[in-house]
């Protein structure tokens, strides 16, 4: 029942990324009256070229400017459009390692969380959003990392992607949320409202009132209010705690944000490894997980230009050699951050701190990454870290500091989670084992915020499966 800008719904899902899209679809497919709101726009996958300037402005939150403040700053990015991060990432996919789930179950007292119990939820998500391997179609640049790791005797794998490869004609179709779950949500009768931002929640007469604004086509906003029996906050690991804290909920909310902090190098090989029509890189080194992992990044000329922008000759360097270059990264699970709202401002502030141990792990990871790349035939390695020397041979690795020296912008992340962990131990958790916020009837969290810590692997598969598990449980319990 809608009256002007007051909208009545049974279930309000706030956010349409992997957590919100999976939750909303499950609820809608069981005949519930579900409204899913999304702050960004509903855009086609091809609305902007992938990893382009236009995509940054259209589909990323704050045009890709996210900085966690602290002595060692960290730059991160998030999606802000229907489908959330799944629209802008590569879709690298892993089921959560069993040891990660075991650790969360022990430390946070999470009920019914293990690999066996999660398997049907992974399978259910993979049946909607298809997961495939590139196989022989993987790029040379990506394979180089695997070859280098294997030469060192390390475990390296090809990660599957949420992607349907067309092996005959090249190309394929990304299995983002807008292309999979959100479509099913709409087919099942769910109502999707893009360009809608929820500012705060309040409880009134056994219902949740969600107050926010809708953006008109000319950019102006108009007020909108939702009244719902159930609210599922799935706005992502930074926006969910920000919303809950604005709504007066703060118990273990926004105190334990985690990242997979990453540092990068550019490796230059003796022949071309980087071609314009290559598939996104997929190989990863698993030998040192969970302490740190390695992979290959998108390495377009634009990305290489930014990676090398600290060098006065970067334009000529990239122009001349980009086809021989690839960007590679090492990432850990170090650092802890908080999310807070600032009076008078809309965007939350994130503060991060790294211990010497965190920086030491990244320092070691960086050295190991360079070892693998030299073993793969790299002729020269350019660390994307101010003050670090170019490396011409494995002998130069001794000149690298053992503890990471990172200045502004050198540390980045595309994985953000754990700001409102789940579990029965309410000394450390914000919600119960299935995402119901402690002490708040009818209010659930179901996104990356709930994860109890770093996943070591790309987290989207975990976010989707945990959301599926929690939504199924909520339906079974009839939201009690």
């Amino acid at each position: 029942m809608n009256a002007g800008n007051q909208i009545e719904t049974e279930i309000l899902v706030i956010g349409s990324g992997p957590g919100g899209a999976v939750s909303g679809t499950l609820f809608a497919e069981t005949g519930r009256h579900v409204t899913m709101v999304e702050e960004g726009d509903h855009l086609a996958l091809e609305a902007a070229p992938h990893f382009s300037r236009e995509e940054m402005l259209l589909k990323y939150r704050n045009a890709g400017v996210g900085v966690a403040l602290g002595r060692h700053k960290l730059a991160w990015v998030e999606g802000r459009c229907v489908g959330g991060g799944s629209e802008v990432n590569r879709g690298l996919y892993h089921r959560t390692p069993g040891y990660v789930l075991d650790d969360w179950r022990r430390r946070f007292a999470v009920h019914d969380l293990d690999l066996v119990g999660m398997t049907p939820h992974f399978a259910a998500c993979e049946a909607v959003a298809r997961v495939e391997y590139a196989g022989n179609a993987a790029s040379d640049m990506s394979r180089r990392l695997q070859q280098g790791a294997q030469a060192q005797g390390w475990l390296a794998i090809e990660a599957p992607r949420l992607y349907r490869y067309d092996h005959d004609r090249g190309g394929g179709v990304k299995q983002s949320m807008s292309a999979t779950f959100v479509r099913r949500f709409i087919e099942a009768g769910g109502t999707l409202l893009p360009a809608t931002r929820i500012a705060r929640l309040r409880r009134m007469n056994g219902h949740w009132i969600a107050e926010g604004t809708r953006r008109n086509p000319d950019g102006t906003r108009r007020a909108v209010t939702f009244r719902a029996r159930i609210v599922v906050a799935a706005c992502g690991a930074v926006q969910t705690p920000a919303l809950l804290r604005r709504s007066g909920l703060s118990h273990n909310i926004g105190d334990s944000l985690r990242f997979h902090p990453m540092v990068k190098v550019v490796a230059e090989f003796d022949r071309d490894v980087n071609h314009p029509d290559d598939f996104d890189p997929v190989h990863q080194v698993k030998e040192f997980e969970p302490r740190f992992g390695m992979g290959c990044s998108i390495s377009t000329p634009a990305m290489l230009g930014v990676a090398l922008s600290g060098r006065p000759d970067h334009w000529n360097l990239v122009a001349e050699r980009w086809r021989r270059m690839g960007i590679y990264y090492v990432q850990s699970g170090g650092g802890t951050a908080s999310v807070r709202n600032l009076p008078g401002f809309e965007d939350p502030i994130v503060r991060v701190r790294f211990s010497q141990g965190d920086l030491s792990v990244l320092g070691e990871g960086l050295r190991r990454l360079c070892e693998a790349l030299f073993a793969a035939g790299a002729q020269r390695i350019y660390p994307c870290l101010a003050g670090y020397p170019d490396l011409h041979s494995p002998g130069d690795l001794a000149r690298m500091p053992s503890v990471l020296h990172a200045s502004d912008g050198n540390m980045t992340s595309v994985h953000v989670f754990s700001s409102c962990p789940m579990g029965e131990d309410d000394r450390v958790s914000a919600a119960n084992s299935f995402g119901k916020v402690h002490g708040a009837d009818g209010l659930y969290i179901n996104d990356a915020s709930l994860l109890c810590g770093p996943t070591s692997v790309n987290p989207q598969g975990t976010v989707m499966a945990v959301a599926h598990r929690n939504a199924a449980e909520a339906l079974t319990r009839r939201f009690h």
Binding site: T300, G305, A319, I349
Partner: protein
């Protein structure tokens, strides 16, 4: 609204445009005006979209950057000759004051991304000399 800001930048937008021009000159001095405008519009759009507390901080910094040359050169940044603009940018880039360095680093990163994203850069234009 945002389109109108792009078409008629305010004082901060003009200062940012002039700064981006200096940064482009460091790598692509021969870049056509229309392509420069694309890069400037991208950097201004990024400034307009960044988190509000950063936006406020960077607008204040940009105004300080614009007015800082007055005691030295007698003119604000946007009215300086090209060589003086380069010296001013270089002074802030090497400043001992962190926010000054951060400001130049941020605009340099986004100007660089905008520059490399130009259609003419996608195949990467031939190098004018052998890179070191």
């Amino acid at each position: 609204m945002r389109d109108r800001e792009m078409a008629r930048p305010d004082a901060v937008g003009r200062c940012v445009g002039a700064l981006v021009d200096v940064l482009i000159d460091e790598t692509r001095p021969a870049l056509e005006t229309c392509e420069r405008d694309i890069v400037k519009d991208y950097v201004r759009a990024t400034l307009a979209a960044m988190p509000d507390y950063f936006r406020l901080g960077f607008r204040v910094l940009a105004l300080a950057f614009e007015l800082a040359p007055l005691p030295v050169y007698g003119h604000r940044f946007t009215r300086l000759a090209a060589a003086e603009q380069r010296r001013h940018v270089d002074a802030w880039r090497r400043s001992r004051i962190g926010p000054r360095r951060s400001m130049i680093a941020l605009y340099a990163t986004f100007a660089c991304y905008g520059l490399y994203s130009l259609p003419s850069a996608q195949g990467c234009a031939p190098a004018t000399r052998i890179a070191a």
